[in-house]
Symmetry: C2
Subunit: 318 residues, 2 copies
């Protein structure tokens, strides 16, 4: 982790969006930018998205912007129009080029907070909060560990699988800044000898990982591959990587299924991965004390499926 952010500190680029700069304006991410009264830090009251850029092409940009809009709608936070976010990303990428070259792989994090309470930054609700894009090279340690097998532990997330339907005020499927529990579960896992966590509902359904989506592989009686992911009814975040893989798998003639998935299903699956936008597909080789087989070939296929999304990305090159 230290290596990551040392790298960041010399080469990350940040772009703010506000009413005066709807196309974005550069700022130095190593200088203070936020007031201590910003609700983003006062209450974890904001939404975000993280995406990957390879060779200047932003992967799954439209799905990420759509999900940002969805999270903003759920939390009732006004956010700039899609064009502003696209322009800010473009500006950030151009800044890397101006500085001497775009790193081969970058992460982009878009963040929108509710702004300073009672002091909207603009009369226009689209610009009333605080908005920025942070672009940083993907750390070498993450590049090196991509696709490497991981051990996960199953932890109870505390919610019933019907909590999202029964209790909309919990905003379970919004990607908010209130991620302290997700981080705590990750620390717990590492302190107990695991790399990551898969959350279960209190009534025993498989949900998602703190920062990624669960994917299972099996084959039907005819030998056709079947990909299964937990149902969104549980209030989990709709995974953009899972969505891209499903789209490509369908084109390849694979079958797709949305669970309910139980821990027993998960352990009975021939192969399991955690999917995220920057780490991509991480094969799971152990779930608590249960060993799983890892298929390097299938992991490569999933990576190929993810790469097919490139054609749909935002044209960042002139």
């Amino acid at each position: 982790m230290a290596e990551h952010f040392q790298e960041d500190s010399v080469s990350s680029v940040a772009v703010r969006i506000d009413a005066e700069h709807p196309q974005g304006v550069l700022f130095d991410p190593h200088q203070p930018q936020l007031r201590v009264t910003d609700l983003g830090v006062v209450r974890g009251d904001g939404v975000f998205e993280t995406m990957l850029v390879i060779d200047g092409a932003v992967r799954k940009l439209t799905p990420h912007l759509n999900r940002l809009r969805r999270s903003a709608d759920i939390t009732e936070i006004g956010i700039p129009p899609e064009e502003s976010w696209r322009a800010a990303i473009q500006l950030g990428l151009e800044e890397f080029r101006t500085r001497g070259g775009l790193p081969e792989q970058l992460s982009i994090r878009l963040t929108a907070t509710r702004g300073v309470d009672g002091e909207p930054a603009s009369e226009d609700p689209q610009f009333a909060g605080t908005y920025w894009a942070l672009l940083a090279p993907v750390p070498a340690t993450m590049l090196a560990s991509r696709g490497k097998p991981i051990a996960v532990t199953l932890l109870d997330r505390g919610y019933r699988s019907d909590a999202a339907e029964q209790s909309p005020w919990l905003m379970l499927s919004a990607k908010t800044l209130s991620y302290a529990v997700n981080m705590a579960a990750g620390r717990w896992a590492r302190q107990h000898g695991f790399d990551d966590v898969i959350f279960l509902s209190s009534d025993g359904q498989v949900l998602e990982a703190p920062t990624s989506t669960v994917l299972m592989y099996s084959e039907d009686a005819e030998g056709t591959p079947v990909l299964t992911t937990p149902t969104l009814n549980t209030g989990i975040l709709p995974g953009t990587s899972q969505g891209a893989i499903f789209a490509a798998a369908e084109r390849a003639g694979w079958k797709l299924a949305y669970g309910p998935v139980t821990p027993e299903d998960l352990k009975a699956a021939p192969h399991v991965w955690l999917l995220s936008s920057v780490r991509l597909a991480s094969p799971v080789n152990r779930i608590d004390d249960h060993q799983l087989e890892v298929s390097t070939e299938l992991t490569a296929t999933l990576m190929d499926f993810l790469a097919q999304d490139l054609a749909e990305t935002y044209p960042t090159e002139d």
Copy 2:
């Protein structure tokens, strides 16, 4: 709310604590102070406390500092020693005096974040994160509404009452910055004609309100007053106002009880209040469609109980 923060904007005082300034240093809260990579805003990864100052005396300072320490321990965030927080508060209060006078009532919010990921602010873990105190006059609207009856709705918090015991990684009883759900529940309540929320566990126990503690009043067969609050076993935050009231009530010969409390208990109680450090005791006159009687006299008694804590506060005057 708008009135609150317009007032803030002319008269709030902020004090930062860091390794170079273990006694605190003033900064302008209207200027940017935090980097966008601070985990406080990136992940809502920090802890806080809010307390009240009346005529220069900080109410319940030691219980608040103890609870801040407890939240920091649970979340594994290093924080400055108690002396630093006390010195920072002292500095903030002196700044108000220097500027021409201490407002009769102030709120103080202490915040500690995990800091910038991978770039600790100091080698000393007590100063590795980001720390500040924000002092602001209690808004006139809040002063005017204090002690006024409120209508509340019961909302499912989604967790079972044993989630805190079963799932320590949820950190249920830490007061973290990840408050987006609490804010969302409050918005939901106001949109549905209520002033506030009382959360229930998914198995039907009364928990707490998004930013306050539930207190019930009844009398036993001999006519002795009995105060009841939900048990901490459910993972609710230990209320500092509830603690101060219980201490004073015990001295007055009242009986004290810690629930489990059901919604039926709550509606059967002669009187119910929500307690918080700045709003103090708010009598509840309606729980969903159930009307409750309000006792102006008992509310005044609770306010008196809270005021007894004054003698235990930090000596801020020379």
